[in-house]
């Protein structure tokens, strides 16, 4: 790219594109600016195409920066109160990778807060993203169970594509939040819960799936003198039962991968293992599979467009606060 071209671009309102120019503005259609990526390719090789996957959950924002490999990944708070921190996490990821926002060619957002992300080019649901992420980690996966903070999901894969999916219905049962509420009630941390559950002699039957009811039930069991480890073991069994039911709707097939925040709890994984009758696969960092999938999808999309010589629609991106759609 020539100096002149750079200069031309810096004048071209697209201030965020000040440094390495990646797209050439071609035309404008209904407000969205269309940029061609061809100019960019001349300059850089495929290797240098940097894409970000941003998974904005209700509590945590997960970001993966990748070219042909993962450059860096960050997990940070979405911001409980005003959910204003997602962009800060992005900044942190960039610092960690020694990049600036302008170096990132394409940003794909996913997760609960994916809708109004001023710095994303496109948004895709976490279902498609987790599926893609898991598929790259475990090509043999057929069934994915994702235990997120707000909801849990089951995804069925066929030939690497999402065949079918199920989500739990407007209820916290079988989600990360449920685990947290109960952990709070027991005054334990999540990892302590997993440890304790290993000591259980039996699983105390917890029948209630409603968070409020379950909390009450657990407290009353404690007062009846049931030991904590049995309760925790029962609790993991109850959650796995609830989520298992969801997956069963799609007919569980091997390999099964468990991901999402809930997959960090070894106690819960053990409960799933009991229920499934075999060992599920768990990614090294289950929180990141969504962001990873997003990055891969983003990359694939850019490359596909390049191949076809197609235009890519790109709005002006701003690394600003995310607003939530509610």
């Amino acid at each position: 790219m020539t100096k002149e071209m750079e200069a031309e671009f810096s004048q071209n309102e697209i201030k965020t594109f000040a440094k390495p120019v990646r797209f050439v503005k071609e035309a404008s259609l209904d407000g969205a600016e269309i940029h061609s990526i061809t100019g960019y390719l001349k300059e850089k090789k495929e290797m240098d195409l940097i894409v970000a996957g941003v998974d904005i959950g209700s509590t945590m924002t997960k970001i993966v920066l990748m070219n042909t490999n993962i450059i860096t990944s960050v997990i940070g708070p979405t911001g409980a109160e005003h959910r204003q921190l997602a962009n800060k996490v992005m900044e942190q990821a960039l610092v960690q990778a020694g990049l600036s926002f302008e170096d990132v060619a394409y940003v794909l957002a996913t997760g609960y807060g994916r809708i109004n992300v001023p710095f994303a080019d496109r948004q895709v649901t976490e279902i498609t993203c987790h599926a893609r992420g898991i598929q790259s980690l475990f090509p043999t996966a057929r069934t994915i169970i994702e235990i997120g903070g707000q909801d849990s999901k089951a995804i069925k894969l066929e030939g690497g594509k999402v065949l079918n999916f199920a989500m739990n219905d407007q209820c916290a049962a079988g989600t990360g939040r449920f685990l947290e509420v109960i952990a709070d009630a027991l005054e334990l941390s999540l990892s302590e819960m997993s440890q304790i559950s290993r000591k259980a002699k039996k699983k105390e039957e917890i029948s209630n799936i409603c968070t409020v009811f379950a909390e009450q039930e657990i407290i009353s069991r404690l007062s009846e003198g049931v030991v904590v480890e049995d309760i925790v073991a029962g609790l993991f069994a109850a959650i796995s039962r609830q989520v298992f039911k969801l997956a069963e709707r799609l007919k569980i097939e091997k390999d099964v991968v468990i991901t999402g925040g809930g997959a960090k709890s070894t106690g819960l994984i053990k409960a799933f293992e009991d229920k499934l009758g075999f060992t599920p696969l768990v990614p090294e960092e289950p929180l990141l599979t969504g962001a990873m999938g997003a990055a891969i999808l983003g990359r694939e999309q850019v490359l596909k467009s390049l191949e076809k010589g197609k235009l890519i629609r790109r709005r002006e991106q701003r690394l600003e606060k995310v607003t939530f759609y509610e």
Binding site: I115, I127, T128, V162, L163, F165, M167, Q170, S305, Y325
Partner: protein, 379 residues
């Protein structure tokens, strides 16, 4: 055309004040039909205006003081309106026992609003028993008799025939409109279609026919719009008005509804009444032969088969079925529908609606479904 569509919408959205005004001006009687399966033609032939009670979206209704909240929004909404007195302008209400919730609510309703004019139709569930048609005919005749009493006017065979032909005309016009939509789906928004049909449920069909003809005239002249969108069939909302913001959400996410199986849609007008036979018997036939319904037993066709034919005929990419939360009838059929459609190779999404509008969860589900259909790819 937009002006015309707005007109339909304003009729459908401003449910009752317009009717109250209309009643004052014309002095005519209005009969509320609790959805569904009320043979409106008989009411029409008596000179009274049949309207369909489409409930209300109010989450908080007075109904909650009298019935627990675990019943479908249509029944809760309607009952709430009634308790508020907003249905007091009606000269009568007709219920039909096609589902448990309506069966139960009718007695509760009458208990709370005694003194009104009510008629409870008891319709059979089994469509192929030897007594089915006799049974329905008796019921329809009973209805006819009470309507004659209420209107003070005999319903002659010829007036009934005339009403039937007006209703059929209405159905034919809607069929044509739906054809135009299939050919040029981006011409209408899904919410437009719903309000066009809903408006017809709230006015004399003669008048609706005129508006429809006008709409058709404009629509047939419109230039075809290219879409590149995911083509969907929307099914469900078994006897309720679909939530307009859910319809909008589908479109926002890159889909276009090319045909439907909604109550406020094709289910309402699909089946014509046979004009060549005795009119009362023709109405019975219509009830028996109507679109497959989860509240009916032993119908000639399966709902799933009907839907998958619809998908194929309309060359749709997939089907979204929305069941109202607590709608037993639909929910008992959900798993079977899902399996049969999937086996038949029809991609489908089954969602449950609790009338909370376009929530984040709903958005994720629909968007993920569209992603599996390959929507938005390469956008």
């Amino acid at each position: 055309m937009d002006k015309l569509l707005n007109k339909f919408a304003s009729i459908a959205v401003n449910l009752y004040p317009r009717l109250i005004q209309w009643k004052k001006e014309t002095g005519k009687k209005i009969i509320g039909c609790f959805p569904m399966y009320i043979p409106e033609e008989i009411i029409h032939a008596s000179g009274m205006l049949p309207i369909t009670l489409l409930g209300s979206d109010d989450e908080l209704t007075l109904a909650d003081q009298y019935v627990h909240p675990y019943i479908c929004q249509l029944v809760r909404g309607n009952f709430g309106l009634s308790l508020k007195g907003e249905l007091d302008f009606l000269d009568g209400i007709i219920f039909s026992d096609f589902c448990l919730t309506v069966q139960m609510i009718s007695d509760i309703w009458i208990y709370h609003k005694p003194g009104g004019f009510y008629h409870q139709l008891i319709l059979p569930k089994n469509m192929s028993a030897s007594h089915t048609k006799r049974y329905i005919l008796q019921q329809f005749n009973g209805l006819k008799k009470t309507l004659e009493k209420l209107s003070g006017r005999d319903i002659s065979e010829s007036s009934l025939k005339k009403s039937i032909s007006i209703y059929n005309e209405n159905r034919k016009l809607l069929h044509r409109l739906y054809q135009v939509r299939r050919a040029n789906p981006c011409l209408f928004r899904a919410r437009d279609m719903a309000t066009v049909v809903a408006a017809g449920m709230l006015m004399f069909k003669e008048e609706h026919n005129m508006l429809l003809s006008e709409l058709l005239y404009h629509a047939s002249k419109a230039i075809p719009l290219s879409d590149g969108k995911v083509r969907l069939i929307l099914s469900g909302y078994l006897c309720d008005m679909p939530e307009l913001d859910v319809l909008d959400l589908l479109e926002e996410l890159g889909a276009v509804v090319i045909d439907d199986d909604l109550y406020v849609g094709r289910r309402y007008f699909h089946t014509l009444t046979d004009e060549s036979i005795n009119p009362m018997e023709a109405l019975v036939e219509r009830f028996v032969e109507d679109v497959p319904c989860p509240t009916k037993l032993n119908q000639k066709r399966d709902w799933a088969d009907y839907l998958s034919d619809l998908v194929k005929e309309a060359k749709a990419d997939g089907l979204v079925s929305v069941a109202l939360k607590y709608c037993e009838a639909h929910q008992y059929d959900f798993p079977v529908l899902d399996t049969s459609l999937s086996q038949g190779g029809v991609p489908n999404l089954m969602i449950e609606s609790s009338h909370r509008g376009a929530t984040g969860q709903l958005r994720t589900r629909i968007q993920a479904f569209l992603e599996t259909l390959g929507g938005r790819d390469g956008n």
